[in-house]
């Protein structure tokens, strides 16, 4: 590409270092602050004031920190789900739908079997949530493995089907008493215990444990190694005797189940009932988070926390500066695009050469 008579030349780095990754992330954040600052200026608000206010909204109080952790849970679950599939170069765009499916499974069993003791009901809610989400994983998995159907498209379509199915249930059989599209509440004795007398629930540990298990599975186990081979080349995997089809299906199912756990936790930890906006785009956010964290499950955890901070600062802006919720999406867009652009520093040397 030529700018003012200079070529921009990109040279791929042989090794990417932690310091260059940090530099990339840092410049991405700075870039996004500058860009979103312009939006505030256009809106006649002082950007510095907003940024400091947001910073304190997130880190300034125990409430802010626990809220950020709370939102990080569903994002991390979806991002970990996407990351597992990405290990074998499969794009699971369907985390959103799988999240909904998990929530549905937990919600339906919670409402219909509310007479069971909590010792039975909680495991039942988890099992059915996971089974529901697995259905949305096994379909694209089988289609990809058997017919090589593009998984991006299938999972994308399944998102819509899952959401519509949830709406069907909420306006139909599951509708609560007062004609709004909400289900009845699940019994109180199934609610997850809360931490620090905030809204944060113990589900946060479940997600952390999943991430740690995934880390060892992906980086240290033999199966994880096989999967990485598979991700590099189906041919190589076949020569090495690694079952390509079996693994594609298995990984899609595992991936879907992890996103499903996110949905389950959202139902029994936060909302305690089903409602149309339960997923809120967490699945799509998760895709980008997974990519930003370069598929490292442990990195995913803290990246999710940072992105969750965006949501929290967004709701602060809503209250303090009466900005609409859509500002969160604008930020997400700006942050993702800026980090994406700066990511070039991770993998490439950039130099200008005279024509």
């Amino acid at each position: 590409m030529i700018i003012f008579g200079y070529y921009i030349v990109l040279k791929k780095k042989l090794r990417t270092s932690q310091s260059s990754r940090f530099f990339a992330l840092f410049s991405g954040v700075v870039l996004s602050l500058i860009l979103s600052g312009f939006i505030f200026l256009l809106n006649k608000t002082n950007p510095f004031e907003v940024f400091t206010s947001s910073f304190f909204a997130i880190f300034g109080s125990l409430y802010g920190i626990t809220e950020t952790f709370l939102i990080a849970i569903p994002i991390a679950a979806c991002a970990l789900a996407v990351g597992v599939a990405a290990m074998i170069k499969i794009w699971n765009i369907g985390a959103e739908g799988q999240f909904v499916a998990g929530a549905l499974g937990a919600g339906i069993s919670g409402v219909y079997f509310s007479f069971l003791p909590s010792g039975l009901l909680i495991p039942l809610m988890f099992t059915s949530g996971i089974l529901f989400s697995m259905i949305l994983g096994v379909i694209p998995g089988i289609l990809k493995a058997m017919l090589n159907v593009n998984e991006i498209l299938v999972t994308l379509m399944l998102n819509y089907m899952a959401t519509l199915f949830m709406l069907f249930l909420l306006y139909g059989p599951l509708k609560g008493l007062d004609n709004f599209p909400y289900s009845k509440y699940i019994p109180d004795n199934t609610f997850l215990p809360l931490l620090f007398s905030s809204r944060l629930h113990v589900g946060v540990f479940i997600v952390i444990i999943i991430a740690i298990i995934l880390y060892f599975f992906m980086k240290k186990s033999i199966w994880g190694y096989e999967l990485r081979v598979l991700g590099e080349s189906y041919k190589a995997a076949r020569y090495a005797g690694i079952g390509v089809k079996r693994n594609i299906i298995l990984i899609m199912v595992i991936s879907a189940a992890i996103a499903g756990v996110g949905g389950i936790l959202e139902v029994i930890g936060v909302q305690h009932r089903l409602q149309p906006s339960i997923a809120q785009g967490y699945g799509f956010t998760g895709i980008i988070v997974s990519w930003l964290s370069k598929n490292n499950p442990l990195t995913t955890l803290w990246v999710s926390f940072l992105i969750a901070g965006l949501f929290v600062s967004g709701s602060d802006m809503q209250i303090s500066y009466s900005l609409p919720t859509s500002i969160i999406k604008v930020f997400q867009g700006i942050v993702f695009l800026s980090i994406l652009a700066s990511d070039i520093f991770t993998d490439y040397y950039i130099s200008l050469e005279k024509k």
């Binding site: 289609l143 991006i152 519509l164 199915f165 709406l167 139909g172 980008i288 604008v330 990511d343």
Partner: protein, 307 residues
């Protein structure tokens, strides 16, 4: 009589998807997947609405939405072509930014409508029995969409720039050797895709007489992505696919009108199910060989990495 009006409505309602998916087709032919269609449509819908509403001039609104969305799509072009960023991630981020910006800027206009394009009867053609009512009593953007289907068909298969476009998507390194400026071709293709998405968005606010809302695109951008693949990157099939989708969508209302008691949400799932089925059938090896995806779709071209 009744059925003809329904068919005419299906043609009308499918037009935004026709426009958007044809733009995406060109972009994908050059090797760049753009999942940001939903966001670009929102930008197009809002900028068309805004300019149309302020000036009272529909044409000006359409021009504005095409230009602004074209410029907006440069973000995706710059990231994926120049900086070699991941196309899936960039497209998703573009959707966030586009829907966010559009609903943020449009927050004061909810439920306001701009003026709307009226149907124009084409003399002679509109007198043809059946076809006349269905196809030739539409607004000008619908006529434009017919034209674009054939224009792109001709462009891709019969002109030199069209063949170069295909080369870039099939084998960038060969095209580079042949002296084609891949960067430039891909930029043009992505911006064209952006402009068409803008036009599709403008259709919703300026031709469909829908009032402005945050949900105005209602997932049409995602559908368009599916339809390009469903139509195996062939302009005629992509056009047909869009109409089929529109037909399935209106079947929903038709059945309800007949008093058949199926939840609209369950019926709403049908088009997506159908797309999955068609995708699976067309992925069977024998069929996909003939109508496959551009070989290098999704891959940035880096001259220094060439093997």
């Amino acid at each position: 009589m009744d059925i003809l009006l329904i068919l005419a409505y299906i043609i009308h309602a499918s037009t935004p998807i026709v426009l958007v998916s044809l733009g995406e087709l060109v972009s994908e032919k050059s090797g760049v997947l753009n999942l940001g269609l939903e966001g670009m449509m929102m930008i197009g819908a809002f900028s068309g609405f805004y300019v149309g509403y302020l000036t009272g001039n529909i044409l000006l609104g359409i021009v504005a939405s095409v230009l602004i969305t074209g410029i907006f799509s440069l973000i995706h072009a710059f990231l994926t072509i120049t900086l070699h960023s991941n196309q899936v991630v960039s497209g998703l981020a573009l959707t966030f930014l586009g829907t966010g910006l559009a609903s943020f800027s449009g927050r004061g206009f909810i439920n306001t409508s701009a003026q709307s394009l009226q149907a124009i009867k084409i003399p002679l053609l509109s007198n043809i029995p059946i076809l006349g009512v269905v196809f030739f009593n539409q607004n000008i953007l619908v006529y434009f969409s017919y034209f674009v289907i054939f224009l792109i068909l001709f462009f891709i298969y019969k002109t030199r720039p069209g063949l170069e476009l295909q080369f870039c998507g099939e084998s960038p390194s060969t095209s580079d050797t042949a002296g084609i400026n891949i960067t430039f071709v891909r930029y043009k293709a992505v911006v064209f895709g952006g402009m068409m998405a803008g036009l599709g968005g403008a259709f919703l606010t300026l031709a469909d007489s829908s009032p402005w809302s945050d949900q105005i695109t209602a997932g049409r951008g995602w559908i368009a992505v599916a339809i390009v693949i469903f139509g195996r990157w062939n302009p005629l099939l992509v056009g047909a696919g869009s109409y089929l989708f529109g037909a399935l969508n209106s079947l929903q209302f038709k059945l309800q009108a007949r008093g058949i008691d199926i939840s609209p949400y369950i019926l709403g799932m049908l088009p997506y199910l159908f797309t999955i089925v068609i995708l699976s059938i067309t992925s069977i090896k024998v069929i996909s060989k003939r109508w496959g995806a551009p070989e290098s779709l999704g891959n940035p071209y880096i001259r220094e990495d060439r093997e």
